[in-house]
Symmetry: C2
Subunit: 209 residues, 2 copies
């Protein structure tokens, strides 16, 4: 075990690798394995055993020399550390094509994200339900969020209004923005921001083909 | 203009930043602007003007000192370079919650990705159409792809079969895999691989909140 306390801040690249390990050890569990070493994980995933051991030192688990980690315990600890076992309340702004698609993806719930409402200004979606999730007019957000207390806001509006809607979400109490637009929004320092640009990934695929 | 020829291989981080510039200059165009300098872009996006000028040197455009880039031309050149103006043929494996959501997101088409078919082994989705896209049994993929000639395969299967399905896609002629599973698949060197792990991004949000 390294000197990292489980409470020291884990760097983002390490944090992003943890779900890979989780997904692999879950497969091992399914195959009936009970122990796994970082060397074994390294063989399957393009990350060195040293890096894996270092990454895992941020979570509260001890590996044993020559035996490795107990798989059941590792899954438990990783899911807990990654926040997948607690339900987090979210809202979504922009019920267009991608927004509606995310509302209908109930898979996110299995990872701890529960979207409680969609917001839009388009009368053709307001009042509708998608996958049981109601869509309201954006004007109602501030009042509705006093009750909902959503901390996470998913941003799937057209890129040209992304900044303005982000500002509006923050005014209404949102503390973390998951930005799916290709627009590079700016947020105050205390606001968590994650950009998931599907189009940037597409561009890489197209360019490399 | 730098020494980079437009055909020299652009590094992935630069490639991923180009859609940010595109989305910002599109906004400027909408606002009636005609010219933009890298300094102006830098002010809005957290990237230095030098870096922006360097990134843009990979695409076939010339900026003029003190005037900057012609916006209309920059949009044209960026969209072309990023591959958003040509339609690319894709198929999708795993018509579960996320897979079905991606099939219904017609927004991808605007960025040059046309999904022609979904594949699954679950009889409850086989034979269905989602957003006009037919879903076939996975067994039919190799034969169907002889006609379709899809180069891009979107992977939204359960993580424990991600590797096996990826291998199968490659056998059927897929040359680029867009992996949405949290599983770290391995592919031969000539295959393009992009990982878009929604769950890893969620983990970062949860951890930072």
């Amino acid at each position: 075990m390294s000197d990292n306390s489980p409470h020291s801040k884990i760097p983002e690249p390490a944090l992003r690798r943890l779900p890979w390990y989780l997904s692999y050890v879950k497969l091992l569990k399914k195959q009936g394995h009970q122990q796994v070493s970082s060397t074994q994980i390294a063989k399957k995933i393009n990350v060195s055993a040293t890096q894996i051991a270092k990454d895992l030192s941020y979570v509260n688990i001890n590996g044993k020399t020559r035996v490795g980690y107990n798989i059941e315990q590792l899954i438990e600890v990783l899911e807990d550390f990654l926040g997948f076992k607690r339900m987090h309340t979210a809202v979504l702004f922009g019920v267009g094509s991608l927004g509606a698609a995310l509302l209908s993806d109930s898979g996110l719930e299995q990872y701890g994200l529960k979207i409680h409402a969609g917001f839009d200004v388009d009368s053709s979606v307001i009042g509708q339900k998608i996958n049981e999730i109601p869509v309201f007019h954006s004007d109602e957000f501030v009042i509705r969020n006093k009750k909902l207390k959503a901390q996470i806001g998913i941003l799937t509006v057209p890129p040209d209004i992304a900044q303005e809607v982000a500002d509006f979400m923050i005014e209404g109490g949102i503390q973390a923005i998951w930005n799916f637009t290709p627009f590079r929004i700016r947020v105050p320092e205390h606001i968590v921001l994650q950009n998931t640009s599907l189009y940037a990934h597409l561009a890489v695929i197209f360019n490399r083909l």
